[in-house]
């Protein structure tokens, strides 16, 4: 465990440096001169005078060599300064931090939704293999991977909000507002979770120790609940971790559709406002969060499954 942990932690700074390099180069890919964009935003309509642009370039240290600028930016980023938004002039880290709870709430709610949908169905499909329930789970699984989140979002919105008036279409605050976005995001994840639960449980049910338990006369419910599920759910944990990336990415679209004031919507809004530092900060922020979650899931998995050899490098 220690060696494994050490190796993972040693690998981490390299990844972080790479992530920061990519994020930094994003801003330099952006067309146009940041100083000019900034001046145009402050005085809309007016053509920025040449001297003012040059002065601002000086003030923002834009004429310094690239490595120096990268170093300065990295120093700031490490100290919690991701720069300021072109639009609002406020600290990006602060603005991201304000919106993160909404995104995390959505992610957790959709994970819960996905688990609530996929585990019973997956387990049922494996236990009663070949039954109508199995067929239903197959169909739902196929649908879940084929229906894009934005189509599902609009369909649910149309059906449950516009036609039936059961739930509010957009907004934030009440628990009711959470249902539609969480359902949309959760559905995509639950399809793969369900298929995995079913396949994994089927694998375990075919093993000798399950037969032994049955031969001993253990009740079927206990065999499945206590003996088989324990090991069948291990791969599900990994996929849960991997789907968090999917959730964070999917949140960009779903938040935009439902007007959910999270990090994803903030980034999309920034794109249309050409607020490049915000986009850059968003990528760095999300990548670091994603990396930490992945590390935590990986460690949890290794802790849960003692069969795994800890010395080996994870892929």
């Amino acid at each position: 465990m220690q060696t494994y942990l050490a190796r993972r932690l040693l690998f981490l700074p390299g990844l972080l440096v790479g992530i920061s390099l990519i994020s930094f180069s994003l801003l330099n890919l952006a067309p146009g001169d940041p100083a000019e964009i900034l001046l145009r935003l402050q005085q809309p309509g007016a053509e920025a005078p040449r001297e003012a642009v040059l002065a601002l370039r000086q003030a923002l240290h834009l004429d310094d060599p690239l490595p120096l600028r990268y170093g300065r930016w990295l120093y700031g980023a490490v100290h919690g300064d991701l720069g300021t938004s072109y639009r609002s002039g406020k600290s990006i880290l602060h603005e991201l931090g304000q919106r993160l709870p909404a995104t995390l709430l959505l992610a957790v709610a959709s994970l819960a939704m996905a688990l609530a949908l996929s585990l019973p169905l997956g387990i049922g499909a494996a236990v009663w293999r070949g039954s109508p329930l199995d067929g239903l789970s197959r169909c739902l699984g196929l649908l879940g991977t084929s229906v894009p989140s934005y189509v599902l979002a609009l369909t649910l919105m149309w059906l449950l909000a516009v036609k039936l008036h059961w739930l509010p279409a957009i907004g934030y605050g009440d628990p009711q507002h959470l249902v539609l976005p969480a359902l949309t995001l959760g559905a995509g994840v639950s399809a793969s979770l369900m298929r995995l639960t079913r396949a994994s449980l089927l694998d375990v049910l075919a093993q000798d120790y399950v037969r032994t338990a049955r031969a001993k006369g253990v009740r079927e419910g206990t065999v499945i609940g206590a003996h088989a599920l324990k090991s069948a759910l291990l791969p599900v944990v990994t996929v849960l971790g991997m789907s968090l990336g999917h959730l964070l990415g999917g949140a960009v679209i779903v938040e935009t559709i439902f007007g959910w004031p999270g990090v994803g919507k903030y980034a999309v809004d920034a794109i249309f406002l050409r607020d490049y530092p915000v986009i850059q900060g968003f990528v760095l922020y999300m990548a670091v969060i994603f990396l930490c979650i992945n590390l935590a899931v990986d460690l949890a998995y290794r802790w849960l499954d003692p069969r795994l050899h800890f010395g080996r490098q994870a892929t």
Binding site: I22, P31, L142, G249, A267, V268, F272, I279, F282, V283
Partner: protein
């Protein structure tokens, strides 16, 4: 002069022969594949259904200039939001454009862009994956670090950030998607190349004096291309969803080009009055992706060895 003409003619003759030969070779290989390893594929109704779905969409895309009753971009504000009638089989949109024509031409845009992205992804992944797997050493280290780095980002988030920085346009959306999509494949191809490299026929080829390039192009690729095609089919649905998602957010295709993701977001404001505007592109998207998923699953099941490269074993 006459001599030159004769040379040209004979060259053309040889080229014709070669083309004929190549075509015959391809056809014979296809027939062999259909009769041999692909035989289980034709017995799988879901896979055949997927293939038919894709064939229909492909024909709609290729035949759109012939099939479309109207110009997909012709605006007529007097005929906006018409219900389906004899003149407009699927009605008109908010600018009075014919929905059916836009849907048909949209198939074209969607399939063409997804194919280009897939081809780009494959070209990058094949080149880098083969180099890394075949040579090993520092090339392997450099390429695989880059792959690990890209995989550390949630893919859609990085893609959104790249388009956001470069500015919304279809080319940028395709570029961004290709940039984030190749990494997973490169890792996979590297694994396959590593496996093939150990085989005896590679050693034999080297003993015969074949150059590295020749071994890679002839011996290694010929043994990885088949499984790769299956993987590509499996992923085509994902790429279509990704690109339509960027289009839906307004980051890709710009109006008035007909595209399903754009049509979907065009329909959003008219959810109450004309839900069919969202229905058509939504259903079309789902069907295409469903088709590719069914086809991919069928191919994977038919070519059994593929199972080793997918984490979920679906029987």
């Amino acid at each position: 002069m006459r001599g030159q003409g004769a040379v040209k003619a004979s060259l053309a003759h040889v080229r014709g022969l070669w083309n004929q030969h190549a075509l015959l070779w391809l056809l014979s290989r296809l027939r062999l594949a259909i009769r041999g390893p692909l035989r289980p594929f034709w017995r799988d109704p879901a896979a055949v259904a997927g293939l038919s779905l894709i064939t229909v969409v492909l024909m709609a895309a290729l035949g759109s200039p012939l099939l479309a009753p109207h110009d997909p971009t012709a605006v007529n504000l007097e005929q906006r939001l018409l219900a389906p009638n004899r003149h407009f089989p699927l009605g008109t949109d908010h600018l009075g454009r014919d929905e059916l024509s836009r849907l048909l031409y949209g198939a074209r845009t969607t399939l063409a862009t997804a194919s280009v992205v897939l081809a780009t992804v494959m070209a990058i992944a094949c080149t880098l994956g083969t180099l890394a797997g075949y040579y090993g050493g520092w090339r392997d280290t450099v390429i695989m670090s880059l792959v690990d780095l890209l995989l550390a980002f949630p893919a859609l988030i990085l893609a959104v950030a790249i388009v956001g920085t470069l500015g919304p346009s279809l080319t940028h959306a395709m570029l961004a998607l290709a940039t984030v999509w190749w990494a997973g494949y490169a890792r996979l191809i590297r694994g396959m190349v590593l496996a093939v490299r150990q085989r005896e026929f590679i050693e034999a080829a080297r003993a015969l004096g074949a150059s590295d390039t020749r071994i890679m192009l002839h011996h290694v690729w010929r043994n990885t291309l088949g499984p790769l095609m299956v993987l590509a089919t499996l992923d085509m649905g994902g790429i279509i969803l990704g690109i339509a998602g960027l289009n839906f957010l307004g980051l890709g295709t710009q109006p008035p080009t007909p595209e399903w993701g754009v049509m979907l977001s065009d329909g959003r404001p008219f959810m109450q009055s004309a839900p069919r505007m969202m229905l058509y592109p939504g259903v079309a998207l789902c069907l295409v992706v469903l088709g590719f998923n069914l086809l991919g699953d069928g191919l994977r099941d038919a070519l059994d060895p593929m199972n080793q490269w997918t984490y979920e074993r679906v029987e």
